[in-house]
Symmetry: C2
Subunit: 391 residues, 2 copies
C-alpha cells in the first residue's frame, strides 16, 4: 500500500541492517524540497537521545530527511547514546548532501542498550546509496516492532480545484511493547506552509488523535510524530484551503491512531469514548483517558459485560470535578444512567451489542460545551501473554 510516496518529491525505503535479529530495521523518509517541518514529542522525562536532539532542531530548521531504526530505542544510554545519535544524523546528512540539522532521527526498541554503530553506519551506506526510491511499503514495515499489521493512511480533499494531500505511517501496539519502546508517526503533505503553521496544525491534530489514545497508559521514552510539507505546484495556502488542510491532517492522524489501537497488544475491540458537555478539553481528556485506562473497564468490555458501575467509578476518580447528578451514560447507544440515576435496561441485549469489534461509550457531563472522542482497547489475556515473557 503506497502512502508517503503519493506526495510528489517524497522518497522512502528500508533495509535489514542487522539491528534487529532479523527483518527490516533501518529506513529513511527523504523530502529534498520540503519547505516546512514540525514535530510533537513524548512528555516522558526520560527522553531518548533522538527525542532530545530532534526537539532542538524543530522550530527554525526545516527537516528534509528522517532516519528511523527499530530494534533499539537508544534511550537511557547516557552521553554515549547522545553521541551515537548525533553521529548517525551527521553521517546520513553527508550521504544526502544535507546539513546535519536538516536530518531528524527516530529509534524504537529496547531501552538501555547501545546502538550497534558499525552495523548502523554500514547500513546507512547501503540505504542511502540511491536515495530517490519510492519504496514506502518497506519503510512502513521497517518501523514495526510488536505491531501485527502495517499502519498507513492517505487522504485528499479538493479546495477550489486544488487537491490537497496528506499521507502518514505509524507504528505502535503497546505504549511500550515487550522490551521495546515507542509510538512513531511520520506525516507528509503537499500543502505549502511555514514551520509555524505546520507546527500549529500538527499540535492540534495530535491533541485530537495520538494524544487521545491509550493501549495501557504507558508513555514511552521515544514517542514522536514528525511532519514535512513538500509543496506541489498549483496548491495555494489560503484561509479556506488552510482550514481544509488542518482537517485533513487531523483525519490522517486519527486514522493512524485508530489503526494503532485496533492493533493494541491483545486487543479485540476498539473502544470509542465520547465525552460531551465537558467544561474544557483538558477535563474531557482526563475523564476519557481515566476510563480508557481503567483495567476494570477494559476487562469488562473484553467480556462484553454491561457493568457500567466501573465506568462511573473511573469517572468519579479521574481528578476532574464533576456533578454526579448531571452525568448520563450510554453504551452502544443504550442509555444506562441518566442524571446520575440507574435506568432499567435489558442486560442480555446489551451484552450482545457489546460483543462487537467497535464499542461506543458515551458520557455526558452537563458542565459545558466541550466534546471529544478518545480511543482505547479492551484488556485480554493476550496483553498479559505478550508482555510477561522473559527474553
Amino acid at each position: 500500500m503506497q502512502s508517503l510516496c503519493k506526495i510528489n518529491g517524497v522518497y522512502a525505503s528500508a533495509i535489514a541492517a542487522g539491528i534487529k535479529a532479523k527483518g527490516l530495521d533501518l529506513s529513511y523518509i527523504y523530502a529534498p524540497n520540503a519547505v516546512a517541518s514540525a514535530g510533537v514529542f513524548t512528555t516522558n522525562q526520560f527522553k531518548a537521545a533522538c527525542v532530545k536532539r530532534n526537539q532542538s532542531l524543530f522550530g527554525d530548521q526545516v527537516i528534509k530527511a528522517i532516519i528511523v531504526n527499530s530494534g533499539n530505542a537508544n534511550a537511557v544510554t547516557g552521553e554515549q547514546g547522545d553521541q551515537n545519535n548525533k553521529k548517525i544524523a551527521e553521517y546520513a546528512a553527508g550521504k544526502l548532501g544535507l546539513s546535519s540539522f536538516e536530518v531528524a532521527t527516530a529509534s524504537t526498541g529496547i531501552i538501555g542498550r547501545h546502538l550497534p554503530m558499525e552495523k548502523y553506519l554500514c547500513g546507512l551506506d547501503q540505504l542511502l546509496h540511491h536515495p530517490s526510491r519510492q519504496e514506502d511499503e518497506l519503510s512502513v514495515r521497517a518501523i514495526m516492532t510488536t505491531d501485527t499489521v502495517e499502519k498507513a493512511a492517505y487522504f485528499e480533499t479538493e479546495v477550489n480545484g486544488q487537491v490537497i494531500k496528506c499521507a502518514g505511517i505509524a507504528k505502535g501496539s503497546g505504549m511500550i511493547a515487550p522490551n521495546m519502546a515507542t509510538m512513531l508517526g511520520f506525516i507528509v503533505t503537499n500543502f505549502p506552509c511555514t514551520n509555524q503553521e505546520l507546527q500549529v496544525c500538527l499540535t492540534e491534530a495530535c491533541n485530537y488523535s495520538f494524544n487521545l489514545i491509550s493501549v495501557d497508559g504507558d508513555t514511552s521514552t521515544n514517542d514522536m510524530v514528525l511532519a514535512m510539507a513538500v509543496p506541489e505546484a498549483g496548491i495555494q495556502n489560503r484561509p479556506d484551503s488552510f482550514i481544509e488542510f488542518k482537517k485533513l491532517l487531523t483525519q490522517t492522524c486519527q486514522s493512524l491512531s485508530q489503526q494503532i489501537i485496533r492493533d493494541g497488544e491483545g486487543a479485540t475491540r476498539l473502544i470509542t469514548i465520547e465525552i460531551s458537555e465537558a467544561s474544557s478539553y483538558e477535563a474531557a481528556k482526563q475523564i476519557a483517558m481515566t476510563v480508557a485506562n481503567s483495567p476494570l473497564v477494559k476487562t469488562a468490555i473484553h467480556g462484553a459485560d454491561p457493568n457500567w458501575g466501573r465506568i462511573l467509578a473511573a469517572i468519579g476518580r479521574s481528578g476532574v470535578s464533576i456533578d454526579p447528578n448531571l452525568v448520563n451514560l450510554s453504551l452502544q447507544g443504550c442509555e444506562v444512567v441518566r442524571q446520575g440515576q440507574p435506568l432499567a435496561f435489558d442486560r442480555n441485549h446489551l451484552h450482545q451489542l457489546l460483543q462487537s469489534a467497535d464499542v461506543i461509550v458515551h458520557i455526558t457531563l452537563g458542565q459545558g460545551d466541550h466534546s471529544i472522542k478518545a480511543w482505547g482497547c479492551d484488556l485480554s489475556r493476550g496483553y498479559v501473554d505478550i508482555n510477561v515473557e522473559y527474553n
Copy 2:
C-alpha cells in the same frame, strides 16, 4: 482467628441474610463503651450512600456500632439508596439502644442496584437479638466478596507496663472486584483517646498503608476505614504511649494493606516499591503509584523479567518533575541504573531473584529526604479471567 474481640468490650458477629446468593453477608461490630471514633473515606466523587452518611457523622459523634453488608454496594442508587441506608442505621440503633448517629454503615458489592430491604431488616432482627457476641471470625468472613483469604491483624506493644492493643479486619482484592465495589477496613484499640486524636492517627496510618497500595488503580465508590477506641482500665494516654499507639495503628493498617495486595485479583507477587530521596511525600507517592499501576511493569514482574526500562519510563511519565541523571534503580538489591546510566548486570541471575513471592523495587531520586514504601502486585492472566466474566 480472633482479632477485633481481643479488645475488651468489642463484640462482633455475622449471619447469612440473603443479600448475597449464599454465605454470610450481614455483620456488626459493636463497642458500647467506645470513647472515640474516626474514619477515612474514598475520594471517588460517586460516593455510596453509606460513605456520604458516615462522612456527616464522624467528627463530633462517637460511633459505637458498625453494620456491614456484602453483595450490594448501594452506590449510584439515588435518593432511594440514601433513604434505605438511613433506615438501616435507625433500625439497628433501635435494636442496640443507641442513637442513630452512633451507628455507621458500610456496604460492598454490585453498584447500581437497590438493597433488598425486607431481607436486610429481617436480618438485623436476627443479627442484633443478642449483640454481645464475640464471633469476629464470622464478621471477617461476612465482609468478603472476591477475597480468597480472610484479612485480620492484631498487634500489641508494652509502654510503662501497659499493654496497648490494636486489632483490625479488612476486605478487598480488586479496588473493584467483579461487579463488586470496595475496600473496607475496621480497626479497634484499647487506647483511650479523643475523636480528634484518633482521626489524626488514622489519617496518618492510612497515608502510609491503605493509601499506598494498588491492585489495579481503580478507586471504589465505597472505600472506607473506620476506627473505634474502647479504653481499658489502666491504659493511659501520655506522650510516650501516644507515639507508640500511633506506630501500632500504622503497623495494623500496613499489615491489613499487605494482606489485601497479596490477595490481589490474580496476584502472584507482592511488589514493595521503596522511594528514597524524594522532595516530598506527595512526589514519592505519585511516582510509587505510577510504577505500581503500570501494566507493563506489572506484567514484566509477573514474568520475572528484569526489564527495568519500563520502570524508568513509568517514573518519567508520573507527572513529578525529576532529574533523570540523579535516578538510581535497584531490583531485589541488584543495582541496574546509577545516576541515570545503565549498569551491566547478570540478567539470568536477576531473572531468578525476581521469581520470588516478594519483589523489592528501590528507586532513589536524589531530590530530598522523603522516603516511603508502597505496595502493588503483578498482573497475570488470572486478573483478566476474574474481571472479564459476564454475570
